[in-house]
Symmetry: C2
Amino acid sequence: MAAKKRAVVLLSGGLDSTTTLAIAKTEGFDVYALSFDYDQRHRTELDHARRIATALGAKKHRVITIDPAVVAGSALTDTIAVPKSRSEQEMSVEIPVTYVPARNTIFLAHALGWSEVIGANDLFIGVNAIDYSGYPDCRPEFIAAFERMANLATKAGVGGADFTIHTPLIKLTKAEIISKAQSLGVDLSLTHSCYDPTPDGLACGQCDSCRLRLKGFKEAGLTDPIAYA
Amino acid sequence: MAAKKRAVVLLSGGLDSTTTLAIAKTEGFDVYALSFDYDQRHRTELDHARRIATALGAKKHRVITIDPAVVAGSALTDTIAVPKSRSEQEMSVEIPVTYVPARNTIFLAHALGWSEVIGANDLFIGVNAIDYSGYPDCRPEFIAAFERMANLATKAGVGGADFTIHTPLIKLTKAEIISKAQSLGVDLSLTHSCYDPTPDGLACGQCDSCRLRLKGFKEAGLTDPIAYA
């Protein structure tokens, strides 16, 4: 049997990245999962990522430490309050204070390096431009620009490897992502979405991320299996 | 007096990045210097970078640790021999084994994050497409693609900050870079270029980087002030 193709999958431990990992597996890739510790407020997500990588059969899972100084000034990394109970209208008008400087650029740059090291040409990221927090580095035009840059940046790219950044969720609603995960048999009780969990790791239910998640489950006609504070 | 504009300058401790830092200062920027520890064979360059940042008056100097796993497989990071005494012809035909996966993408991604954190719109990198080692991520087309991506990736970029990646050395020969450094009063005895220094930190004089440096000094009609093994 020929060796499977390898793919690097960014795995935060949330709904979207977990579903993306499951999709990469379904598409026949051996998955190399990559998570990041940037001293985020919701660092508990890394424990979820570890359990998910094991449960979904990632070949390898690596947690990379990012120097917090280069991603500072966000409500997710500093002592800035995470907004709660914002309406959909409020969520849609601007880039929120939970934006983290250049986060997906830094994450994908590491993924690109690791891809080249392990001989993978495929990178997966669970960005979504429908039910999302309004971050610029989740939009299709950012992904396309990164992919173009990646193919100019690397020995493999210049040599014809043709790196592809897969974004299988980009056009799905949160409800569709949840239904997709369900159809792939993903255990969503393993996932973590909250930006501002309790010290015990319970989701707050009020931040933008919790609200998008709960709305998605409701629209999908399903019950969210995780515990809320 | 109005506050000076800030710029993030990538500083390896070599000739090119040191001259680039001096140019950024001359152009009126407050310089925030950024270096990287990726367990490189020539890690001694970081001590040089620290001394250079102080000597040239950087406002701040930060050394970021990169997980060596994502940049592995290079002669600069693994137990692969650094090529010695290659001819100019040999140096020009292919990407050498000293290529480090996605290095400048990872470096610039961190620089972009830090820029956004400190409110800088200007990034400086001492890449050079004339007397260089043939790395794809030193070419103008890579820099242009990164700049375009950066302006789509970030809150500041989307908000109109217009990030610029400055490459003041891109079209200069090594001799011209050395002359430029000289004219700016840069103490080049502080710099380190060798890929494979002795345990005492002396330059080998044989690797591509040493040979390009020595050739540059010769063509500039100057004597290299550093010690060789």
